[in-house]
């Protein structure tokens, strides 16, 4: 219809430049319209009948002036100047998507690859070949020239459209490429087409015409879009897998979400699916198990009729570290909380708890507990009291302060405790007590800055009054206070806990702090006091558990109940799990899905945990048949951080051991793993990404086509600024639309006159 009215296809108008071919100036046209309009105005006013008022006369004048303007416009010879490709002197690059997503069979049973081949073999390729030289390519994770269409197999492991088009554009520097035709579903998995690539294509003025294949929406499918699991943890830690997914066609149904290790189900739960297309987030708690690298699969069970079952699973690596963090607990007075805290964590084989108990005014009772083992591994350790040197204190991963008044530590020790968190990255826990927090004089100390609450200025903030404990909204989901997997049941479980014997007013939480538990005094008043508050500080983390009375959770519940043990184990693991060592190695992506480049990173700190910018850092990579040592170089904007790029040559798991030295002195080592898997990326987002294809074509001056109307491509492709072109002028004065407008204007005036009875 457009071409019928406007004489040429829309592509011509899109590509062409409008001009007035008569050579007369535009201002003369405007002047002419004004003059004719004025003359017509006088004529209409003089000759109007009595029944035609001013408004009606005005409308008649407008219609007559518009008619005259159209005639004058036609006399000025409007035209379009458009570049067209010179036949047989240009190359058209026909790029066919060869990735695995093109093997998906949509409605009708034919695969996308088959439909693309059918379109090309059904006349499109011939129509292009009649006028241009055609170069055939196939694209997946790279671009490759092919001779015949049957070389397109739809087995490519990834789709990198941007990278592939860059290669075509590079060819255009030496070849007259007039246009690119891309036949694809647009399911790019390299993160999209970057601005630089688009800019380069536009600079070359090569239009990219896209033909989109595949449905834009599956009718029955569940797809996992992401899964977050901590990359590192301690053995037997409780971890949370946060899973994002969406579905089509199964709204309201239940499906099982599981976490697996090598096929063995570690944990799972039923979830109810939300509305079609709605992004849903669910979590599953599971135990990390013993030390080692775990390949964790997060799986949503396949439901009947699912069109794509390969996107129901994602894989993540978890490095379960075998190190044993050390915690130093200083208790200022013998009390029940001290006894029962030690008992609560005694079965945690991965925590080394070293305690110093002030038994009398000038005696300290030292104990060490590694799992159930009791006894000092080094009897001389800390026999002179609480650490005063950096290397002694920083040898621990976490600190606990019981009912300890601030003056017990010197100002230097207090500053050291703050640096322990800020610089070392350790965790510190403060328990409530008659000499703790505000009552212990901690307000006016360097430690105050790192506390998660604003300590009150008053004394007697510690009271021996019973209080019930409730979990907050944040605590309901936190791994520290998660006693039950289901958050709703978790809330109910906390409500049934025995009351605590005492609590301390630790003040209001600071911005950025998280309150996980509240104490509700049994003396009434309706108030809630923050009981368990956490916050990050510097590189570490701080918590206040403002009571010395949680021991009743052990003594007032049956011996078979392990709530108290679970709570303190989870709290102490949180305290130390993320405490870094002198060398911390990492990679942003522990799983390479259909890519081979990996970025290695090492954070190096000296013995005082200051950034070591002058270290020699190496990464030794071991894989299946691969062993290579890479020198890591300092990152320019991050002190003490070193980086390197590496390419994993083949699929499989790789172990990276990072070592740092300063001269001959070893600073430390660390190890982490990553894994390369192929054939994964194409399983996800297999719907046609029409938006990407349309944007690509519109940004480059091309057009997007569905397969059914791609036959117009043969005609539209002629119009391009690239390659070898000739400039043509196409007349517009004889467009049927203009004649139709003339008739319309004249008819409108006649109809109005008839209606008003003034003919």
């Amino acid at each position: 219809m457009f071409e019928f009215l406007f004489k040429y296809p829309s592509t011509v108008f899109h590509q062409g430049t409008f001009l007035l071919a008569s050579g007369w100036p535009l201002w003369l046209l405007v002047l002419g319209v004004i003059a004719v309009g004025g003359a017509l105005g006088v004529l209409v006013l003089r000759k109007r009948s009595a029944r035609m008022g001013n408004i009606k006369a005005g409308m008649v004048w407008l219609l007559q002036t518009a008619l005259a303007a159209v005639v004058l416009f036609m006399l000025w010879h409007p035209a379009l100047s458009v570049a067209t490709l010179k036949p047989q002197q240009n190359i058209v690059a026909v790029v066919v998507d060869d990735s695995a997503s093109m093997s998906v069979a949509d409605e009708g049973g034919a695969t996308r690859r088959d439909r693309a081949n059918a379109l090309l073999n059904g006349g499109l390729l011939q129509s292009l070949a009649d006028k241009f030289q055609v170069r055939l390519y196939r694209l997946s994770d790279h671009l490759e020239r092919i001779e015949k269409l049957d070389q397109v197999t739809a087995q490519g492991t990834a789709t990198h459209i941007g990278e592939s088009l860059k290669q075509v554009v590079a060819d255009a520097n030496s070849l007259p490429i007039g246009a690119v035709v891309l036949l694809s579903d647009g399911a790019d998995n390299s993160g999209g087409i970057d601005l630089e690539t688009i800019s380069e294509i536009r600079r070359q003025r090569i239009p990219v015409h896209t033909v989109g294949f595949g449905r834009e929406k599956m009718s029955k499918d569940i797809e996992i879009t992401g899964a977050d699991i901590p990359a590192r943890t301690l053995p037997d830690s409780r971890l949370e897998a946060v899973v994002n997914f969406h579905q089509q066609g199964y709204s309201g149904q239940k499906v099982k979400l599981t976490v697996r290790d090598g096929g063995k189900i570690l944990a799972g739960r039923d979830v109810t699916l939300k509305g079609d297309g709605v992004q849903q987030t669910e979590s599953v708690l599971f135990n990390a198990g013993p030390a080692g690298v775990k390949t964790i699969d997060v799986v949503v069970d396949t439901l009947q009729g699912e069109e794509n079952t390969r996107n129901n699973k994602v894989t993540r690596l978890v490095n379960v570290d075998s190190r044993k963090p050390r915690i130093l607990y200083l208790e200022g007075e013998p009390r029940w909380e001290f006894k029962f805290l030690r008992r609560a964590v005694e079965d945690d084989r991965m925590i080394d708890l070293f305690t110093m108990l002030r038994t009398t005014q000038n005696k300290i009772y030292r104990q060490e507990q590694i799992g159930s083992q009791q006894g000092l591994t080094n009897p001389k350790e800390l026999e002179n009291g609480y650490p005063t040197k950096v290397e002694d204190l920083f040898g621990f991963d976490g600190l606990i302060f019981g009912s300890v008044d601030a003056p017990y530590l010197t100002p230097q020790q207090q500053e050291l405790v703050k640096n322990f968190v800020d610089r070392r990255g350790g965790g510190v826990l403060f328990l409530g007590g008659r000499d703790s927090l505000a009552d212990g004089g901690w307000v006016k100390t360097p430690v105050n800055e790192m506390l998660p609450t604003v300590l009150p200025e008053k004394k007697n903030s510690f009271v021996r009054v019973g209080a019930n404990v409730e979990v907050t909204a944040a605590g309901r989901d936190s791994l520290i206070t998660r006693l039950e997997e289901d958050p709703g049941k978790n809330v109910e479980r906390w409500k049934k806990m025995p009351y605590i014997m005492n609590f301390q007013d630790a003040g209001q939480p600071k911005p950025g702090a998280t309150v996980l538990l509240d104490a509700i005094p049994m003396s009434g008043g309706g108030g809630r006091i923050p009981l368990l508050v956490t916050q990050p500080f510097g590189r570490g983390r701080v918590a206040i558990f403002a009571t010395g009375g949680s021991w009743r959770w052990q003594m007032l519940q049956p011996v078979s109940d392990k709530t108290h043990e679970m709570f303190y184990t989870q709290l102490l693991r949180w305290l130390v799990n993320d405490t870094p060592r002198h060398v911390t190695g990492s990679t942003p992506k522990s799983l390479l899905a259909d890519e081979s480049n990996v970025k290695l990173r090492a954070d190096v700190r000296d013995k005082n945990y200051l950034p070591a910018s002058d270290a020699t850092v190496e990464a030794h990579v071991e894989g299946d048949g691969v062993s290579e040592t890479i020198t890591m170089t300092p990152e320019p904007l991050e002190q003490g951080v070193y980086g390197a790029q590496w390419t994993a040559p083949k699929v499989g798991s790789y172990l990276v051991e990072v070592s740092a030295k300063r001269g001959e002195e070893e600073i430390g080592t660390d190890a982490f793993t990553f894994r390369r898997e192929d054939g994964v990326a194409e399983n996800f987002h297999v719907e046609q990404n029409r938006e990407l294809l349309q944007k690509l074509s519109s940004e480059t001056g091309g057009r997007y086509y569905r397969p059914d109307d791609a036959n117009k491509l043969g005609r539209d492709i002629n119009y391009s600024e690239a390659g070898i072109t000739v400039r043509e002028t196409r007349d517009l004065w004889d467009m049927p639309a203009l004649f139709a407008l003339l008739i319309l204007l004249r008819s409108a005036e006649w109809v109005l006159r008839r209606k008003w009875g003034v003919i």
């Binding site: 007075e333 006894k339 008992r343 108990l357 009398t360 021996r464 025995p498 052990q554 003594m555 007032l556």
Partner: protein, 273 residues
């Protein structure tokens, strides 16, 4: 009316449940030796620690009547009470950093939750105790949850057998062992490698440190599965009398001093294990 009765019943039951779950208040009982012992002025002050004294049903006679036989009837549990307890608590307050109450707490194994609020339990003259199965079951639960039981002032073979008859209802299979001098309980504050028999007040008159055939002091105990002492048995000695009479110039200082040191070590052990 009916609804009201039901509501009253529910509230009463809930209240009773609450009471059962809660601590019982301090009560001063008349004892065998002291009918009306004066209360310290701060007896109502709440504190972190106090030692609980076990109230139990006693066998009236376990020995054949005769000279040197002292049996205290149904209120055996009140021997030395409360003077011994309060002297002991004062000593603990002076010698350690423990925030202790000035008065004891008397508790019974009555199937309520009260005993669990007092993790350190002391039993005197347990050579006369008569624990039934329910009481033994609760004692067992108390100890396995983390409680600590110290028993003292029982002498000789006959009283040992009575004690063990009760203890075997608590733990049929756990062995009772002699405590090694290297055990941490003898070194938490004081090093008590050299220990002597601490006699009761009768020593002042008899100059004999033992009673019946309890010639040798026995420091014994029962351990839990983690190697912690949960029952500390002081057989053939009378620490209770030593604390009770520590302010009596007739009672030798060396016994009183040792009794306090033993108590401090035991209490610190309980609060740290």
């Amino acid at each position: 009316m009916r609804l009201r009765a039901v509501l009253v019943a529910i509230v009463t039951l809930l209240g009773a449940w609450g009471i059962l779950r809660a601590q019982k208040p301090f009560v001063s009982y008349p004892g065998v030796e002291y009918e009306d012992f004066p209360l310290p002025p701060d007896y109502q002050r709440t504190a972190e620690f106090t030692r609980a004294r076990l109230m139990y049903t006693a066998y009236l006679h376990v020995h054949p009547p005769g000279p040197g036989v002292y049996e205290n009837g149904p209120r055996s549990w009140t021997i030395d009470y409360p003077r011994s307890d309060r002297h002991l608590l004062a000593g603990i307050a002076r010698l350690t950093r423990i925030d202790t109450r000035s008065v004891e707490q008397s508790v019974e194994l009555d199937n309520s939750d009260d005993v669990y609020n007092w993790p350190m339990l002391y039993g005197v003259e347990v050579g006369h105790w008569n624990l039934n199965e329910e009481e033994a079951a609760q004692m067992r639960e108390f100890l396995l949850r983390g409680g600590f039981f110290m028993c003292d002032d029982f002498h000789g073979t006959v009283e040992w057998n009575i004690f063990m008859a009760g203890m075997r209802k608590v733990f049929p299979d756990r062995p009772v062992v002699d405590l090694d001098s290297k055990d941490p309980i003898f070194h938490t504050v004081y090093d008590l490698d050299d220990r002597i028999q601490v006699p009761g007040m009768q020593y002042v008159y008899s100059h004999i440190t033992y009673e019946y055939d309890g010639f040798q002091p026995k420091w014994r105990g029962i351990y839990d599965d983690h190697g912690r002492l949960m029952v500390a048995i002081c057989h053939n000695m009378d620490l209770g009398d030593a604390w009770e009479n520590s302010d009596d110039p007739k009672y030798p200082e060396k016994y009183a001093a040792l009794a306090y040191r033993i108590a401090v070590n035991y209490v610190i052990y309980d609060l740290s294990h």
